[in-house]
């Protein structure tokens, strides 16, 4: 406990120090990043033991604000979420030291680090807080600090727009949480979590679903996500996408622990939400050609997978099937960790692409693997992992969720149909994700450069390479050590599923053996790869190995522009799902016998935004505008208002 509070203190102090040292970028960077790394180290040291069975500690101090107490506690659930927070924050901070140099002189780096460290601190507080007011305060701090990081380049209109969307979305989400926390404390009068009671739990669950879902990015509450993530500096996007949106998941889980035994339909709702977010998220990702936007939509997809896992878990709990509960919750939780790793990695990779090539427009890139080998390799690892392919970590968590769903299908008929949907959904998501990342990796890093930017790209420096490398190693480690990785979950699951620890242990054991085989398969796979590579070298030794141009069917003048682009690569799928995507094409068709110019461009605006929110907002605006005549400057009218109010009240109250 103390360690964590120290970590928070270090973060806050270093934030202030960085702000004060704003004059000199060097000092600000040193203070900010240094403070972040140190604090994260302290925090990890303090958090990990709790995960491995150290008792939960809590601290309950008086706090002189209405209903507020400084009540913090670190239990296994908090500790589990603290791992990615501290881990990724430290790596992103190191990355930032170099990445932020581009802003030097234009912006006060002191302010950036100020907000960055405060963001980390507020996330830590969110998972520690056990009092409604404290939680909400930390929650809003998290939203605001990240907002200021997103709008770092507020000189650009697009960035301002994005920031606005983000701010409004998170504020509206918080409104639901306000109501929820107050209602939870209604009977006891205190807002401490331990005194919460769950009268009409279903309403509270829905409030939590909307409130936390906005932060987590459930469809259709995700609109801020694809706007904000591209706008932010990449190491911040990594942090937001890797950890911050998971705070929504944390909040949901924490609320579930407060709400008592769930009815079955909660699970179905979560599965539905998960399927929508997952499938639509990956589809919209396919249609994007801005790398970070694409990644942002994949965050929506992965949040969907997590929700799917939690849904399966809830179904298990409510139907009294521990296997389902353990596998579902376990898979969901593990995917939280995994997504933090590979999504962080991918965003950092995107950052160094921007840093090296100066653009994120996929169709202008290409051939970067030659110029940025580190970035390319780590990005490939991330891509395989996020596609849920063995032997990396993405597969492990999805495997658990699959297993849970299959279990459910074999167990009970009434659970089978939704779980059937879950299986089909997961399979579809997996396939589409693979499609999307072969596109992203293939078009960005392989082939020939499609523009000057890409042709003159340069590799990032060490401070940016190492964090990516470490994250890649993390992805691989979790993949190969799967059986051991799921063990710590045994301590978390009883809390969220309400099952007895021994049941959980037993079921997790059952899940761990297959993972053992999976890991073995992974090792075998590596051995085979090595063997085959050696075999090929053997075979080719002493034979002619020539180099030439790519086979182009005898075309006279091949050029980089003849390559397949990201848009053309995704075109079959986007046309297949056109009704959902509503892609807009602007085509200037070639005309005449000797056409000069022709062009085709496609954009895929977010359907929820275009079809749902924009009409709603403009509608409200219209109504309000209609009422402006009230204030039209005639004093006679104004006095008339007074007279009428008076008369109405007199007649109403005395009559």
């Amino acid at each position: 406990m103390m360690g964590l509070l120290v970590a928070v203190a270090v973060l806050v102090c270093s934030a202030l120090a960085a702000l004060l040292a704003g004059r000199s970028p060097r000092a600000a960077t040193a203070l900010g990043a240094g403070g972040a790394v140190v604090a994260c180290a302290i925090g990890l040291i303090a958090a990990v033991p709790v995960l491995f069975g150290a008792p939960a500690e809590s601290l309950h101090l008086a706090w002189n604000v209405p209903y507020g107490t400084f009540f913090v506690q670190v239990d296994v659930l908090s500790a589990f979420f603290l791992l990615p927070i501290f881990g990724l924050s430290a790596l992103a901070a190191v990355y930032g030291t170099e990445y932020l140099q581009a802003w030097r002189g234009r912006k006060s780096l002191g302010a950036v680090w100020f907000f960055y460290n405060l963001l980390v601190a507020s996330m830590v507080l969110v998972v520690l807080a056990r009092n409604g007011v404290l939680f909400l305060a930390a929650w809003e701090m998290m939203a605001l600090t990240s907002y200021f990081l997103v709008t770092l380049d507020h000189e650009q209109d697009s960035v301002r727009e994005a920031g606005w969307t983000y701010l409004v979305a998170s504020h509206l989400g918080t409104a639901f949480l306000l109501a929820m926390f107050v209602l939870l404390g209604r009977s006891s009068g205190s807002l401490d979590f331990d005194r919460y009671s769950s009268a009409n739990a279903s309403a509270l669950f829905l409030l939590a679903l909307v409130g936390f879902g906005t932060k987590a990015g459930f469809m259709p509450l995700h609109v801020w996500l694809p706007e904000a993530h591209p706008a932010a500096p990449s190491h911040v996007s990594a942090l937001m996408s890797g950890v911050m949106i998971k705070m929504g998941i944390y909040g949901l889980l924490r609320t579930l622990t407060l709400l008592g035994p769930p009815p079955a339909w909660w699970g179905w709702v979560l599965i539905g939400v998960g399927l929508t977010s997952g499938v639509l998220g990956v589809l919209f990702a396919l249609a994007q050609h801005d790398l970070k936007r694409l990644l942002a939509y994949h965050s929506v997809e992965n949040i969907g997978i997590i929700a799917l896992g939690l849904g399966v878990g809830l179904v298990g709990v409510s139907n009294g099937s521990p296997v389902l509960a353990v596998l579902g919750f376990g898979g969901g939780l593990l995917h939280v960790l995994n997504h933090a790793l590979f999504k962080g990695l991918l965003f950092l990779g995107a950052g160094s692409v921007q840093h090296g090539a100066g653009t994120l427009e996929i169709d202008h890139l290409g051939g970067l693997a030659k110029r940025m080998p580190w970035t390319a390799t780590t990005f490939l690892v991330g891509a395989v992992a996020i596609s849920g392919l063995p032997p990396l970590n993405g597969f492990v968590s999805e495997f658990l969720i699959y297993l849970g769903a299959f279990n459910g299908v074999t167990q009970r008929a009434e659970m089978a149909v939704p779980l059937l949907a879950a299986i089909a959904g997961l399979a579809l998501i997996g396939g589409l994700a693979a499609a999307c990342f072969t596109k992203a990796f293939g078009v960005v890093f392989l082939g020939e450069p499609r523009s000057e930017h890409a042709a003159h790209a340069h590799e990032a420096g060490a401070a940016m390479r190492w964090p990516m490398a470490l994250l890649a190693v993390g992805c691989a480690l979790i993949g190969f050590c799967a059986p051991f990785v799921v063990r710590p979950l045994a301590s978390v699951l009883p809390l969220v599923s309400g099952l007895a620890p021994e049941t959980v242990g037993e079921k997790l054991g059952d899940a761990a053996d297959p993972l053992g085989f999976v890991a073995a398969g992974g090792v075998a796979f590596l051995v085979l790869v090595a063997g085959l590579a050696w075999l090929r070298r053997r075979l080719l030794r002493g034979r002619a190995v020539a180099e030439t141009v790519t086979w182009d069917c005898g075309y006279a003048q091949p050029s980089a522009r003849m390559q397949y682009t990201a848009s053309s690569f995704a075109q079959p799928l986007t046309t297949l799902f056109a009704p959902l995507l509503r892609t807009r094409r602007t085509l200037a068709a070639p005309e005449g016998y000797f056409p000069r110019a022709a062009s085709l461009s496609t954009t895929t605006p977010d359907t929820a935004r275009v079809a749902l929110y924009e009409p709603a907002f403009s509608g409200v605006g219209w109504v309000l505008a209609r009422m402006r005549w009230l204030q039209q400057g005639r004093i006679q009218l104004y006095v008339l208002y007074i007279a009428l109010t008076l008369l109405v009240l007199l007649v109403w109250k005395l009559g």
């Binding site: 297993l403 796979f525 080719l540 190995v545 397949y564």
Partner: protein, 303 residues
């Protein structure tokens, strides 16, 4: 783990190229030709393994990694599928998921290797490959889910051991539906007609072949062999799950399994000689249809 389990991957390694031979013979017979020798695939492999290599200047290590990873992945898959009622060497709860994902891994690297050449044709093939497989995957997993529900087991070997004539009698329609679905998946995943025409010579229309345009020598051999193994794996899946021959003698069962394998090959040949290639836009409908069949099967098992 008894010998009958260990023999299966060996059979796969040795006999898989023979499947091509059988298919081509069947087609030739339908077309009234003599056709290539049954062992043609072996000849090709040995020839390719003896050749040197030419690489495109555009490519990176990813291109070279493609065939190796693909082959390694499918080799892992071969130890997962049971044949003729005998458990596979590597059998555990949920191995069916690993199977599906391992094939996915193979695809992932084949596709990236194709994109590495920067050739528009290979890009085209890659794009189609991912499109169709993304649609084939749900069909495969739903079919397996139906089998899981029917047999109550979550491992391929478990399912195949639980399979018996009795099962066919009780749940014939379900099994038929799943068989149909898996057959479609097999055709699609192995780039056979009516999804893809392995004998076409027009790059524009190819899917799988075009992705291998720039590969040559040992790489191409790996790819060819990998394709053969993939066909074997999926056929073995079909046979292992559906063939209800359980004599009690393992060797007999495996023999029967082998027979069924080549029967599948013949069936593929028949399909290829009797059907025309679908227009690319129609293929998704076929695959979604397969998925629907599998889902229907699963729903039938619920009552």
């Amino acid at each position: 783990m008894q010998a009958t389990s260990l023999i299966q991957p060996v059979l796969a390694l040795v006999l898989s190229p023979l499947m091509f031979g059988v298919i081509n013979r069947t087609k030739a017979w339908f077309a009234g030709r003599r056709g290539p020798p049954v062992l043609q695939a072996y000849y090709d492999l040995s020839k390719l393994l003896r050749k040197g290599a030419v690489y495109s200047r555009t490519t990176t290590w990813v291109f070279r990694a493609g065939p190796i990873v693909g082959l390694a992945a499918v080799l892992v898959a071969t130890v997962l599928v049971p044949l003729g009622g005998e458990p596979a060497p590597l059998a555990f709860t949920g191995d069916l998921i690993l199977l599906a994902c391992v094939l996915g891994l193979m695809r992932f690297f084949t596709v990236t290797a194709a994109l590495d050449t920067g050739s528009s044709f290979e890009g085209m093939g890659a794009s189609r490959e991912v499109t169709f497989s993304a649609l084939a995957e749900p069909a495969l997993l739903l079919g397996l889910a139906a089998m899981a529900r029917l047999t109550g087991s979550l491992s391929l070997s478990g399912m195949s051991t639980a399979m018996a004539l009795e099962t066919w009698r009780q749940a014939g329609p379900v099994l038929a539906l799943v068989t149909a679905a898996l057959m479609v998946v097999l055709l699609a995943e192995n780039a056979r007609l009516p999804v893809d025409d392995p004998n076409t010579h027009l790059e524009l229309t190819m899917i799988h072949e075009v992705m291998a345009l720039d590969h040559c020598g040992p790489d191409l051999a790996f790819i060819l062999y990998g394709a053969a193994l993939k066909l074997w794996v999926l056929a073995a899946l079909l046979v292992g799950l559906m063939l209800p021959v359980r004599t009690g003698n393992a060797w007999l069962d495996i023999g029967a399994g082998l027979g069924a394998m080549f029967a599948v090959a013949v069936a593929v040949g028949v399909v290829e000689s009797s059907m025309a290639r679908l227009r690319l836009l129609r293929v998704p409908q076929l695959l979604v249809g397969a998925g629907a069949l599998a889902a229907l099967a699963l729903i039938l098992t619920l009552k």
